[in-house]
């Protein structure tokens, strides 16, 4: 049976879940805690809270949201955005998060990943990559897809694994928010290189996109935002696309 995890991604700015296209042009969706609780009750496997402006202000502002969410939500929670130090990670986990997703600071100081994995375990450290296609290759971006790094995204993913990350979250900035399908070539290259789980993010607009991602790559989890925020399809429709057997709305 297919066990690909279905993840809801909540990009948060100033206390609101927002949604943009290519990580830009943001539109307000609603209250993060209410939305997270709804997805939990609908049967989502996991939730990622991403502070979209944290990197710009050098701090994460989601700890209190996580704290509240964890009182009622009993599934894995990942927090990302503006995580810069071991003490940030400690604070995130103490707020109730199970994992932290690190992008910008990992590029600046890769040793943070190794140090954090040693202290908190690899399972708590998600290497987050925002990739844009350039001349047939992908480049890693930081600061919510704003700043280029000159680093090859596929090689960087492998390096993050070697540094001690337990999982990779790969967001295609080109596909993000477009609802026009995943960047399948990107996900394919990364999953072929790695021996840790990979979460694909960016581009899901209909069940067919999910089917074709799963048919063509070795992906382990899919993070989606627009699809759920705009009620394009339900969690159970996503599971059907993934090949789960569903009877009367329940997995069997």
């Amino acid at each position: 049976m297919n066990r690909i995890r279905v993840i809801a991604r909540l990009d948060v700015k100033n206390e609101y879940v927002i949604k943009g296209i290519h990580l830009e042009g943001l539109r307000k969706i609603g209250d993060p805690n209410k939305i997270a609780l709804k997805y939990y009750e609908d049967g989502i496997d996991e939730i990622i809270f991403m502070d979209t402006v944290a990197s710009l202000y050098s701090r994460n502002n989601l700890f209190h949201i996580i704290e509240r969410a964890c009182e009622d939500i009993f599934i894995p929670i990942t927090i990302g955005g503006g995580i810069r130090t071991v003490s940030d990670i400690d604070k995130a986990l103490k707020s109730g998060a199970d994992k932290v997703a690190i992008n910008t600071q990992a590029v600046k100081t890769p040793d943070l990943i190794t140090e954090a994995a040693k202290i908190f375990g690899s399972q708590a450290i998600v290497g987050s990559i925002e990739a844009k296609k350039k001349n047939g290759l992908w480049e890693a971006y930081v600061d919510a897809g704003r700043e280029s790094t000159g680093v090859d995204a596929v090689r960087w993913a492998k390096r993050l694994e070697d540094l001690g990350a337990g999982e990779i979250l790969i967001t295609s900035v080109d596909a993000e928010g477009t609802q026009k399908g995943f960047d399948i070539d990107l996900i394919k290259e990364i999953t072929a290189e790695l021996s840790i789980p990979v979460i694909a993010s960016g581009g899901a607009g209909k069940p067919e996109h999910i089917k074709s991602l799963v048919a063509n790559t070795d992906v382990d989890a899919i993070a989606m935002a627009s699809l759920f925020h705009y009620n394009v399809c339900s969690i159970s429709q996503v599971r059907q696309a993934l090949g789960y057997k569903i009877v009367d709305g329940l997995m069997v």
Binding site: M1, R3, R5, Y40, G43, D45, C70, E71, D72, F74, I75, P76, L93, K94, S95, G96, A97, D98, K118, I119, F120, G121, S122, Q123, A124, G166, E167, L194, S195, I196, P197, D220, A221, M251
Partner: protein, 219 residues
């Protein structure tokens, strides 16, 4: 029946808040502690854990918790639930970073899943548990859980109980079958995270709470 208190052993391991929140959700009283008297006067104990075996054992030693846990479980015979690394710590030894001695409460050892077989580690999945045939009608911890019920796993190491009867359930990851829960008298453990397994996980906590109530009623 009066509410029973559960001690969550605090040795600085990962996300303990979720366990306390889950217990609160199902109406149980818990205390996060590393104090000997607090632990021993509790009715049951949860040994949490994520991360590395060796550093967890080192911390249990540093906080003088090894003998407290052994007295609670082996001498006073009160219910204990080990979760993930907490389950692994109950065993005799782990091969993580060379051999490290564990608490030795359950016979057997902890090994890394063979990467050649499973391909990707950690095993991060909602996966099914198959309850052992001999435990299907008698299990306290997984009583009322549907065979093939889905729970959340995140780990690279697994336990290998020496006594076959200790195996409460097995699960399969990429063709590799491993022990996903143990139950032996007052000793319970799950390789998965009940505090992250939605309604199924909360049901397991309720079962564990009932185990401590029944235990108390008998003695």
């Amino acid at each position: 029946m009066t509410n029973k208190r559960i001690a969550i052993i605090d040795y600085g391991a990962g996300n303990i808040k979720s366990i306390a929140n889950a217990l609160k959700k199902v109406g149980a009283e818990s205390v996060l502690t590393r104090n000997r008297e607090d632990v021993l006067s509790s009715d049951s104990m949860i040994l949490p854990g994520v991360g590395a075996f060796a550093s967890a054992m080192e911390r249990l030693h540093n906080y003088d918790l090894v003998n407290v846990i052994k007295e609670f479980v082996c001498v006073r015979q009160k219910p204990v639930l080990g979760i993930c690394l907490g389950l692994q710590l109950l065993f005799e030894e782990s091969e993580e970073f060379g051999l490290t001695k564990g608490l030795g409460i359950i016979k057997g050892r902890v090994i890394k899943m063979p990467t050649g077989t499973v391909k990707k580690l950690p095993h991060i999945q909602w996966n099914e548990v198959q309850i052992s045939e001999s435990k299907k009608s008698s299990s306290v911890l997984l009583g009322g859980i549907a065979d093939n019920g889905r729970v959340y796993f995140i780990h690279s190491f697994v336990v290998m109980p020496q006594v076959k009867e200790d195996v409460l359930s097995t699960s399969v990851y990429n063709g590799y079958k491993f022990c996903s829960a143990v139950e032996s008298g007052n000793i319970y453990g799950t390789q998965f995270h009940p505090e992250k397994s939605a309604a199924t996980g909360l049901h397991i906590f309720r079962n564990f709470i009932n185990a401590s109530k029944n235990k108390q009623a008998k003695t």
